[in-house]
């Protein structure tokens, strides 16, 4: 299987803070790859570097073999990378429906937009009930559904998901993870950043462990979950 996304020795800075110190990883077609690590390890920074919100100072980000680390975020979206950002970042004063429609900003065929919107409503019937409501009035779980639905409106090849389970009730967390798996089965390649390492390693094919800007472990998700270091640090087991 070919690598859809490849990071080579990526260094990213926030001012003087060296956030990513030579991160290298790859995501292959059809995979769910998870990136786990503690707060501040650089997980979100990795996703933000891929989608161009922050620029890598050194190293390469290759999407389908093409370097994209110099491109603007809106150009990267065009290539087929969707990003469900940390904290959901839905547009609070746009209606649910407008939030979805703006996800398909690059699609000019209104029939295609309608099709995708119906698909999103099928996936999340709750959004359909609330379609006229302002995004800011939704509950946390609904906002997460909206954020995922909005990214799917782009029909991306690769979906970057940043902490989709954060702050959600357990039943919703399960629902979100089921959704991630069904999206993957439907053909989406997914790079998943999670604090909930247990669930993330359950749904993922492969995983990487990030620690203060550096990758410390990687491999098959099931094997990673068995490693004592991982269990101790991220799964809360002795």
């Amino acid at each position: 299987m070919s690598a859809v996304l490849e990071l080579k020795e990526v260094h990213t800075y926030y001012g003087h803070i060296h956030a990513l110190k030579g991160v290298g990883l790859e995501v292959r077609q059809g995979e769910i790859v998870t990136l786990i690590g503690a707060n501040g390890a650089g997980k979100s920074t990795t996703l933000r570097t891929i989608s161009g919100l922050v620029k890598a100072r050194r190293g390469e980000v290759l999407f389908q073999g093409k370097p994209i680390q110099r491109m603007a975020p809106d150009q990267i979206v065009r290539l087929g990378i969707g990003h469900v950002p940390e904290g959901r970042k839905i547009f609070p004063r746009l209606s649910v429906e407008e939030n979805l429609e703006i996800g398909a900003y690059l699609e000019n065929n209104s029939k295609v937009v309608l099709e995708r919107k119906n698909k999103a409503f099928e996936l999340f019937p709750r959004l359909h009930e609330r379609r006229a409501q302002k995004g800011g009035t939704l509950s946390g779980g609904e906002q997460q559904m909206l954020a995922i639905g909005r990214a799917l409106m782009q029909d991306p090849q690769l979906l970057l998901m940043d902490e989709p389970s954060m702050g959600l009730a357990p039943v919703l967390v399960d629902f979100i993870f089921e959704t991630i798996q069904s999206l993957n089965k439907a053909g989406k390649t997914i790079l998943l950043v999670e604090q909930n390492a247990r669930l993330a390693l359950q749904v993922a094919h492969r995983g990487y462990v990030l620690q203060t800007g550096e990758l410390t472990m990687q491999g098959d998700a099931k094997e990673l979950a068995q490693k004592p270091e991982v269990q101790k640090a991220y799964l809360g087991e002795e």
């Binding site: 989608s51 919100l53 809106d74 979206v77 547009f91 004063r93 746009l94 900003y105």
Partner: protein
């Protein structure tokens, strides 16, 4: 003046307030839209308004100077002046953003004072640039809009009100522009993108929106509205100079704050309220103060309003549209 006299001039006063209010509303929209996307008070907007007025006047002059192309129909002349005034003002606004504000934004300037002071600098630059151009071209820079009997024709309305053709045109054009803007912002793809960029620029970029392009268009729209307002202002109040943007500009800014800066319906409401305050205040002030303060204090009322609003309701009448954190 007796109480009955004061009462009888009230309808006319309100009508004139409405007229002024529409002009303020159209300028205020430029401030509020730019603030919405950039959180920048674009003080150069008052000069964009003035440039619209001057460009419109040049159209009147050029097409009736007896050399070359001539247009005699004042309605057509006005239409052309509005198109050129709005267009030129919109383009200058885009250029100002491109050359002055964008480089600062790209440099990642965090200090909010830097773009603000830049805006003030641009404001002076544009004033004197227009002055230089007009002085070289016409040897004068205090310019006067032409008057046409057709546009000055007075109609009598009930309640003792009178209205001139040009005033009717100002109201009609302003209402059309406001309705058009409302449609554009709330019912088109571009409008949705403008609102998205205003709420969260980074996330908008993740939707494939190029924020710079949207910001440019926001300046174009706001600048054009300001330019059209400039032509209408010139038509109503006849005199325009490179410095006549300042006062209406700062009052329109007050209107935008009054309605809630960043809030589009707020800017319209603020403009209309301020127009009334100023006109009604100007008319009745001398009576209320037993002749101590005359209509020359009308502007003071506008700024007093600004101070009171900032003190007691800083978010404005309709509230400030700031992206609430969720």
């Amino acid at each position: 003046m007796s109480l009955a006299d004061l009462w009888s001039i009230l309808p006319q006063t309100l009508l004139e307030g409405l007229l002024l209010g529409f002009v303020y509303a159209m300028i205020a929209l430029g401030y509020t839209m730019v603030y919405g996307v950039l959180e920048l008070i674009n003080f150069a907007h008052s000069e964009i308004f003035m440039i619209g007025g001057v460009a419109g006047l040049e159209v009147f002059r050029y097409l009736s100077n007896g050399k070359g192309l001539e247009v005699h129909n004042p309605f057509l002349l006005l239409f052309l002046a509005l198109v050129v005034g709005g267009g030129v003002a919109g383009l200058v606004a885009v250029l100002v953003e491109r050359l002055a504000y964008r480089p600062l934004r790209k440099r990642g300037t965090i200090n909010r004072l830097v773009p603000l002071i830049t805006a003030i600098g641009v404001s002076f630059l544009l004033q004197d640039l227009v002055r230089a151009i007009e002085a070289l071209w016409h040897n004068e820079f205090f310019l006067r809009y032409p008057t046409y009997p057709l546009l000055e024709k007075t109609f009598f309305l009930p309640l003792g009100m009178t209205i001139q053709t040009k005033a009717i045109l100002v109201i009609v054009i302003a209402v059309l522009m406001l309705l058009g803007l409302n449609y554009l912002v709330n019912h088109t793809k571009l409008g949705r993108a403008i609102r998205a960029v205003a709420q969260d620029m980074n996330t908008a970029a993740l939707m494939g929106i190029n924020p710079d392009a949207i910001i440019s268009r926001t300046f174009l729209i706001g600048g054009s509205l300001g330019g059209v307002a400039g032509v209408l202002f010139g038509l109503m109040y006849t005199v325009i100079s490179p410095y006549s943007g300042f006062l209406p500009g700062i009052k329109a800014f007050t209107a935008a704050v009054l309605g809630g800066i960043g809030n589009i319906p707020g800017a319209v409401l603020g403009g209309l309220v301020l127009g009334q305050l100023e006109t009604v205040g100007g008319t009745y002030l001398s009576f209320l103060t037993a002749g101590n303060f005359g209509s020359e204090y009308a502007s003071v009322l506008a700024f007093l309003t600004l101070i009171l609003i900032l003190l007691f309701r800083p978010q404005g009448l309709l509230g400030q549209n700031v992206g609430e954190k969720v």
